[in-house]
Symmetry: D3
């Protein structure tokens, strides 16, 4: 049995239940899922400042989940905020995020993929992730539909129309073999779209959930977790304690051994 | 339930049972595994000519497995021979192979990895796969232990000694965070090695088996299979029939609609 | 004197004579050319499965040619199928193919080139060759004219019109300095096109023929042939014999020492 | 006149005065410098978790400096933490950091450079910055001297000995033309080292200070500041207010218009 | 105090005064600027042959400037002709040029930039510089306005119209965050353009002047000049003398010690 | 019949005859070779300044050769000085140079190659050529033997010893499949070396001669010469005349139509 935590990395828990309802049917029978938002924060993380605002609460939520016996955590935003840091502070739990997970899957399913984003603003940081994860030469294009995170659900027909137009252009002009819907708020559009276009369309929320389940299984069976050598080496508890970081940042017993 | 086929891409079925015994414990409870070798062929595929000799039998075994209702196939050689072609001729089944699977996993577990190979001979083609899959900048190094495929099992102590020395050098000098044992004949060494070195050591047979299971699950639940647009577009049955390819190559009813 | 073998890598020998007639005038006075198709096979190799079908017959044709004293072989398809394997199994003969040859020439004649292909399907594998041969940053674009291999010769006016439009767009919009007609079935169009557009237009059949002649000359004079160290190291005859590969694959005396 | 803020991104203000004393002599006559540490935090930021801990205080210090009329800010750590975010939240002020600044300078002074770091742990994130800033092909090597941030000043002779040995190896074996001392704690070693080795040795604290001064001058004279289009587009104040982020995070009047 | 030399690398000194008048207001109060053209040569250097014609006079002007105590030289052409050679023959003086300087600045101000050039002819060599300086992945696009060097000043309205159209397209379609006006003859357009488009628009003449001033300051304060190890190692005077190069090329006392 | 010009790009014609004698046996029976040095210049071109000194004389020698009916020119230095410019000013003649020619050949003969150079000084510019020609990922290593151009022939045994040691290390440690002797002064060593090491060893003088012959043949038969579109577009004669460049640079009737 695996225990997974999905974190909506913003301070609005209004969507936790609907996300749980959306994700739960995709789980293996022995996977337990919990969905949580953060105790505070902006309502979306389109701006990098907003990512910064939620970063610590996100990391501490993840560390606490590890303390509580969770096997895997998913950071529910396509910027993959805090992914490196989360892997550094955890010791046994695996952590993944939508961009990493969906690019690995898309790179297996086709030679090239396009990423449909909401706004051009998002592209520079997301492009850095494409490069970092190794998929620069697989990227057919970024396509923007000119919608903010919260616009996706305002007029579903209009959203669907724009996503379809952008994805079709990606397939026909940019020769994308796979489409990635590059925002966890683009929920529920992929099935209709992939039937229409005849190429796999990756829902990044589902993709990262399944990838987390996969990684948790590898960790349990084979002890293949994040390497603690070099980049993900954890900070020493002794240092954390001697600097009284728990007091400085009101972390309670988070780092108690 | 998923049905998986592991193919030993050579003509020696002597190892089918031991490979089955090795892999089976790693499967999900509802996965069924079959292990098969080919009806003829060289006894290993270190040389690219040998890969060519087994290619058609491999592809037809895979196509027949799809016809027989298998959900996934794994090509059991770290050269990933025939991976592109297998994805082209199948319509529903997913296909993976050790290099692809283990690099995706290693790229998730650490920033860099090294691949321990048997002989320098193998490296040029494997390096092309590293580049093709997107991991050129993640590759810390290739290390050769100067052992042919069938040498690995001759003197297990010596093999272990060489793998350990090469992996240690990769971690300490080349700063690899993850080790990939780059041959499906390097079976069973990973556990001891990863405990010794303190970094994940990927057994590529197990990695590709689990990746196949993961992909089969995605295909079943979400219809995320290999894109049939462009690169993996299947050849038209009408053409295959009109050219009498089944007769020319003694394929029986393989391509019967 | 050099003896060259041009291999049409498909089972239709109907075009052997016309290809001979097309190529022969371009040879040096002391070059002897033979053109051959394969004993069986699909009629074109647009699909990678078809490449697989012809691969062994192709390789054995090449090895037999070496045994028969040929100096060079050209694999007559722009996918360059079996190029690596052919170089591995030969010891003295040089082998080349259209994509490799024409990209080396185009890269010398201009800063950038575009490749005009028949169908989008072809591009992923061809793009891998572009990367493998080192010309990714020289590639201005791929252009597809939406014609299958056998469509090129159906309506020559229409083919010419489409090639011209695609090539012009490549030059004017993508700033290609050289055009490569990326299919050995695009025979005979280059002269008119290059006069019209004012840039070199590479006929890939002629390009590979001349490159083969060049390589054969280097081999004869200077012993610069394919390196037999590492990647192209030949399989050991002893192994081929002990595994009875000749019997298993009906190869006769091909591998007799 | 330019007003510069140097931020020691950790909670230990013990070094503010010595850093001021070290940097001040390098300033233009009309530049005013202030050095500040953060109100709380770990004592160094070797671990990415520590970077996360200080990130918000760092960003708010920068935003407040802009509100207070500063022209430029320097983030005093070679990881360049928060650089992207700082540029997003500021409107007029320029922001730079040691890795960016020193690589631009080193890339101008020589064809290649090596970066001397304290510990291997640092390299993966720093390597990502090398790639992001465009200097992957200029990087001769990373060299680790196996010293933590606070070890540099413990035994100056030993530190000097190790830096010299690493830098010499970088020049002689890796053919580095320039050396970057990749930590703001490697203060004061560069002069002796560059005299000894005969290549420029970049002190990253001084380099970033001077680069900040340069950028501030460009901003003042020419209005060349960070582009607010796309990646660095600032979050809308209206959103910040409507979500009561100032209250949630105790930011006072930081975002008051 | 720094002494800067701006060299118009062509034989037409008609523009020296206007360039001086254009550049002088941007200098620091203690910088002295001299602007000079060459004693002979073509009137522009659009063709690489013209670059060759002026190369020696350019280099000797630079060497003589060093002998005369100048601190920095700027080669006033966006091809950056002779930059490597100039750094090789100088010992203390720093040398820079418009492409290098403006790309470093643009790469700091935004994630991506586009370069507006006069003619497509210019792009191949300029693209090589983009790659050489490390900015290939930062380049959003080259845009040509189809104007030769001397056309820029013929009809200022038309020039402005074309630059605006090209820059706007670069920002909106190619997602450039910064614009570089890629010719030192595109003087004076940047201010209006950057106000109109809302992104930084780099005037490459001013950019290189300021970068030279910056480098000269680093050299004076910190002895960070061009590395004389390997690539920029100067030719030995003894060799120059023993081959009587001064006599062969009428260099007078240029190389006198 | 093809007329080839080999240019020793320095002012010492002492070696013209020996180079002719060395190269002539490698020519096709209908190729006519002329070898020439320049009328003045340094005795070698190890320094980029020396390349600059000879550049104009080199280009004018090439242009005059075209006027005189030569079919191809080879620039006899592994820096490939003036290659771009020479292709710009010629209209029908093909031009090549040792680095370009030998890398194309080496890239065809093996997966990777190493370049043995005289001094580390040479590497930065040569590395730029490796990248420009597309072979960065094929380059196994540069190896320096610490010998200047004129040292190669001083003590042939010592030179041979050093070349052998460097080449062996390249093959065994860096896994080079082909060796390039990266200087036209490393004449005559390749045969013994390739026999000893069992890999092709490219003599760059012979390689470029044969490549020139090959290109000249393509030009004659197929009109595949350097593209005159964009990068190699020739300067307009009208401009050359109106600026009196012939008078300014004492070019006589070189540019007379």
């Amino acid at each position: 049995m695996s225990k997974l935590l999905w974190i909506n990395p913003f301070g609005n828990d209004g969507s936790d239940q609907s996300i749980y309802a959306y994700l739960a049917p995709q789980l293996a029978s022995d996977t337990v899922l919990r969905v949580t938002a953060l105790p505070r924060g902006p309502e979306h993380v389109e701006y990098h400042y907003y990512e910064s605002l939620i970063l610590l609460d996100l990391l501490h939520t993840i560390k606490r989940a590890e303390n509580d016996g969770f096997d895997a955590a998913v950071i529910g935003c396509f910027y993959d905020p805090g992914l490196r840091e989360a892997r550094e502070i955890t010791e046994r739990m695996v952590v993944t995020a939508p961009a990493e997970a969906s690019m690995h899957i898309a790179g297996t399913l086709g030679h090239t993929f396009s990423i449909i984003v909401g706004r051009n603003k998002w592209i520079p940081q997301m492009h850095e992730n494409v490069v970092k994860y190794g998929f620069r030469d697989r990227l057919a294009s970024f396509k923007s539909v000119d919608l903010g995170v919260y616009d996706f659900m305002k007029d579903l027909n209009e959203t669907n129309r724009r996503l379809t137009a952008a994805a079709r252009e990606a397939v026909e002009q940019d020769r994308a073999e796979v489409i990635i819907l590059g925002c966890t708020a683009q929920l529920g559009f992929f099935r209709e779209l992939q039937e229409l276009l005849g190429v796999p369309v990756i829902d990044v929320a589902v993709a990262s959930l399944k990838y987390a389940e996969f990684l948790a299984d590898l960790q349990k069976r084979l002890h293949w977790g994040h390497s603690k050598k070099y980049g993900y080496e954890s900070p020493p508890i002794a240092e954390i304690e001697s600097w009284k970081l728990a007091e400085q940042y009101q972390l309670g017993d988070l780092w108690k051994r």
